[in-house]
Structures are given as C-alpha cells and as structure tokens.
C-alpha cells in the first residue's frame, strides 16, 4: 500500500488462504481496492521451498500479474467510495422463555462473530451499568484502539465484553488495565499472525487476593472465576472491539493457546523470596498491576516446564540449565517463572537477588539482564517455566479507579 500511496502501481501476491486477510488488511489501511493475485495455497506451501518447484506457480501467476499492472483502473479503483462507519445498535431477541431467548441470543452473536464459541452472559444495559460501577472511569473514556481493525475501546465497550465473559464488577479495573496494556502503542500484539501467538496476563499486588485470583497449584488452569473471566474478557474485547475472526483476519493456524481465557493468573507473591515482579519493574509493593505479554505457541520457549514437579527430582542448577536450553535469542526477552521451591533453592544456591538470575541468563544469551523477567508462580510442588517474548510485547500497567476493592483505587 505504501508504494501505491507514493504513486507506484503494483500487485500483491498472496496465497489463496490469505486472500480474505489481505483484503481485510487493505481496507484497514485505506486501500480496499488493491490488486491481488493469489497463488493456490494447496501448492504454495508445498512447493515454495525451491525455485524449481515454485516455477509452475510463477508461470501460472505471470499473466494475472501483468494484467494487474497494466489494465487501466476502473472508476471505482481510481476513486473508491469512502468506507463508512456503521451504528452499532443494541441486539434484541425474543423467544418463549428465558432459556430459549438466551440460546437464540448466543446463536445470533456467534453467527455474527460477536462471541467466542462458549455461551455468553447477556450484556443487558443493567448488567453493563453494574459492571461500570466497578470503576470510577467514565463509560466514554477511550482506552485505546484494538487491532486488527482498530475499533475504539471505550470503557463501556470493554464493560459489555466483560459482562459477556462472566466477569464480576470488582474485576473490571484489572480488565481495563490489561486492555490499556494491550492497546498501548508500543505493544506488538500479533493477534492476527499465523504463528498463533497468545497472551499472558499476570496480576500483581493486593488486588489479586481481594478478587480471589489463583496463584498456586493450577494457576494456569480453570475453576477460578477471576482468572477465567478476566482472561475471557480480554479475549472477547480483542475479538469484538477489534473485529477479528479466525481464518478471516486472525490467521493463527493452530489457534491461540488457552484460546478463551489466555493465560491469566496472579504471581505467587506470598511464596516469592524476592520482591514481587511489579516492584522489580518500578511499581510500589502496595500498587496493583497487570502485565500483558505476547508469547509464542507450542514451540521453543513457549511455556516449557522445567523441574520435576511431583514426579522427578531437580536442583537449582538443573532448573537454570533446563530453561537455558530455550534461550536461543539475545535480542528478545525471556519470562522466567520459578516455582516457589525452585526460587528458594536458587536463593540457597547464591542467587540472592532477582538481578543474579537476570545476570546468569544474560550471560547465556549474550543479551541484556533487563530483558530477563523473573516471576514466582504456582504452588508446592511445582514446575518452573520459560517463555520468550519480543521486547515490545511485554507491558505492565498500574490498576486504578477501583471502587469495589480496597486495592487498585
């Protein structure tokens, strides 16, 4: 698009599976009519590896490419109709009783790409108003713009999605802070990428206990309403406010790990022998924060478990060495999570400060100690874990504006 904007005609070559995604992105970037030639997906991924194999595909694409570069523009291509915003009005369903109406609503929302495949709680005006009572912030305040289509995330829009997710109003300030992190201009979300990246949402500070977040055994799992519905609120808000949908403009090929709730938990500060994570990045201990991180999926440093859990024996050194085998990049960051016993074992082994851990990994990677994030997660027994992240995809925001909890005000 940049070249077209600079007055140079061109053509975009994409695999047929990415055609919808390409058209969608072209509209997002103001040039919906860009000319596209597709390469058949069923052949492209098999045969792109060598010049010899890809030749028949190039031969088939040649004439369409020439045509795209030389055929005069239609009036619509030269001067397309301005894309317009549509009103997003309330949605109403009627049926014989509440259960049937709820089912009808869920069907309708899903068909219109406004849900996540699980039943949602009806975001009635009353329920949304109740959610908004969890914060002092104005319903019209803009938190940011949500990719892929840069929908405007007002406090009210986030509240609607939070109600749908089943969140309680006291969770809402956490959700807002997480959305602030996600919408931060510097946050490289990659929520449309075929690599199927996902999010880690870690809560710190006293609000975590007040809203009963799990930080112990099963911290990445289900059965804690705060963990599950805070994450689901973010998931729904990013889908709905950002207008994203799988295989249309979210091309995560294997789906995003923990797809409905992301990985949402609280750091186990009670069993953390160092200062809490948020203190290590400049916040006060009494602050409550949320840290949002984009991480990879099912490959390399994407949640690898290290240590023995309840099964095998381990040592401080074996944990470090186990993690270090995944630290292959010196330019990225690493999120190292130590289970409480592992953290204590590291203290006993001489890693008295968090900075000692950071320095150890920095020597391994050749990168900077500040790019090693250290948190304590899970219970006893537990596993340590390691995740890789891009430096522009790891953002901590302070939780503020809470009205229903003592913390986060």
């Amino acid at each position: 698009m940049q070249m077209e904007k600079l007055g140079v005609p061109g053509v975009l070559l994409v695999s047929s599976q990415f055609l919808n995604d390409a058209k969608s992105a072209a509209g997002d970037w103001a040039m919906p009519g860009i000319r596209i030639v597709t390469i058949p997906s069923e052949k492209w991924y098999r045969f792109r590896g060598t010049v010899e194999q890809v030749r028949p595909l190039a031969e088939a694409a040649l004439e369409p490419i020439i045509k795209a570069l030389t055929t005069p523009l239609t009036p619509q291509e030269a001067k397309p109709r301005q894309q317009t915003s549509q009103p997003l009005l309330p949605i109403k369903v009627t049926d014989v009783d509440y259960g049937d109406a709820l089912e009808r609503l869920n069907e309708l929302l899903l068909k219109n790409h406004m849900a996540d495949g699980l039943p949602v709680v009806p975001a009635t005006r009353k329920a949304v108003d109740a959610m908004l009572k969890g914060t002092t912030r104005s319903r019209d305040e803009v938190i940011g713009k949500v990719p892929m289509k840069f929908g405007i995330a007002t406090v009210e829009k986030i509240a609607i999605n939070s109600v749908m997710a089943g969140a309680k109003p006291e969770y809402f300030p956490v959700i807002l802070a997480a959305m602030e992190a996600f919408c931060a201009g510097e946050f490289w979300h990659m929520m449309g990428s075929s690599g199927s990246f996902t999010l880690i949402i870690m809560v710190n500070g006293p609000i975590a206990k007040e809203i009963d977040m799990n930080s112990g055994i099963g911290f990445l799992g289900d059965c804690w309403r705060a963990n599950s519905t805070i994450g689901r609120s973010i998931r729904l808000a990013t889908r709905n406010i950002g207008h994203t949908w799988p295989a249309e403009n979210d091309m995560g090929l294997v789906g995003r790990p923990s797809p409905n709730t992301f990985f949402t938990f609280a750091e186990n500060e009670d069993m953390n022998p160092w200062e809490p994570y948020h203190v290590s990045v400049g916040f006060r201990k009494e602050d409550s924060t949320v840290t949002v991180t984009k991480v990879g999926s099912y490959i390399g440093a994407s949640g690898q478990k290290v240590g023995g859990g309840a099964v095998a024996t381990w040592s401080a050194q074996s944990i470090l060495d186990g993690m270090a085998q995944y630290t292959t990049s010196k330019v990225g960051g690493y999120y190292t999570w130590f289970h409480p016993e592992g953290a204590q074992a590291l203290i006993d082994a001489g890693f008295k400060q968090r900075s000692d851990i950071q320095s150890w990994f920095a020597k391994k990677t050749g990168g900077s100690p500040k790019n090693i994030s250290v948190a304590v997660t899970g219970g006893v027994p537990g596993y340590s874990m390691i995740w890789g992240y891009e430096l522009n995809a790891h953002v901590t925001k302070k939780i503020s504006g809470a009205t229903l909890t003592k913390a986060g005000r």
Binding site: G27, G49, L69, P80, L88, V96, G151, I241
Partner: protein, 130 residues
C-alpha cells in the same frame, strides 16, 4: 426503519455478517408470555481512514524498472526469482530492484525504504510468503 428493525440492526463494518443471522433477527413482536433479551453491542466503533484510490497503471511493462519486493517469509524470494526470469524473457529491456523487503510481520528496517523504491521503480510486485 421501525423500532424492531432498529433494535436489530446488528452492524459490523468490514467483517462479513451472515445473511442467515440477519434474517433470524427479524422476529415478530413479543407476545405477553414471551421473553425478550436486549443486549448492548460488543463491537468496537471503527473510524475508517480516508479511502484511497490506486495509482494509475503503466501502459506497458517494456523498458521499465520493477521493484520485486517481499516480506522475508520463506519462498517469497524464490517466487520472485522465477517471476524475474519469466518477465525478463518477455520484456528483455526490463530491469529489477531486488533489495526492498520488509521483515516478517514487521515494517522494513529502513523507514525510507518505500520512498527509495518508489523513486527508483515504475511498478512493484510484492510477494507475501504467507
């Protein structure tokens, strides 16, 4: 637009809405024994950017320089290698610029890349390796 239809104008900008869903939304008014649920719309408002037209096409590809660009995804360069070969056979006096590429899923390292390419070339072919 009557009140019922207005309530049901489920809108989304560029994401395809399924006609079936829209059709289902048009219901008869609730009877006294029925239950109605009205919920707020969860979609984000989009402010579309000013829509731009395409650049005029070239009348002939003969003798021009074409930027063969890609996003550094596997195979994109191979595809352009063959296309260059095929184009060269068809237009022997064509020339090509091959150094312009973005990083995978990131902007180009050189923020001036597009300006340089636009100054150098009369047309471009951008291969996405995706």
């Amino acid at each position: 637009m009557n009140a019922l239809m207005r309530c049901f104008a489920v809108a989304a900008l560029f994401v395809n809405l399924l006609p079936l869903a829209a059709a289902e939304s048009m219901q008869t008014p609730a009877k006294p024994s029925q239950t109605t649920l009205e919920v707020l719309n969860p979609m984000g408002v989009i402010e579309p950017p000013a829509t731009l037209g395409l650049s005029p096409r070239v009348s002939n590809l003969a003798g021009i320089k074409i930027a063969l660009m890609h996003n550094n995804k596997p195979g994109a360069s191979n595809l352009l290698d063959v296309l260059q070969d095929l184009l060269k056979k068809k237009y022997p006096d064509q020339s090509y610029a091959r150094g312009y590429q973005t990083q995978p899923v990131q902007p180009p390292k050189d923020p001036e890349m597009y300006k340089k390419a636009a100054a150098e070339c009369r047309a471009f072919i951008f291969a996405m390796g995706d």
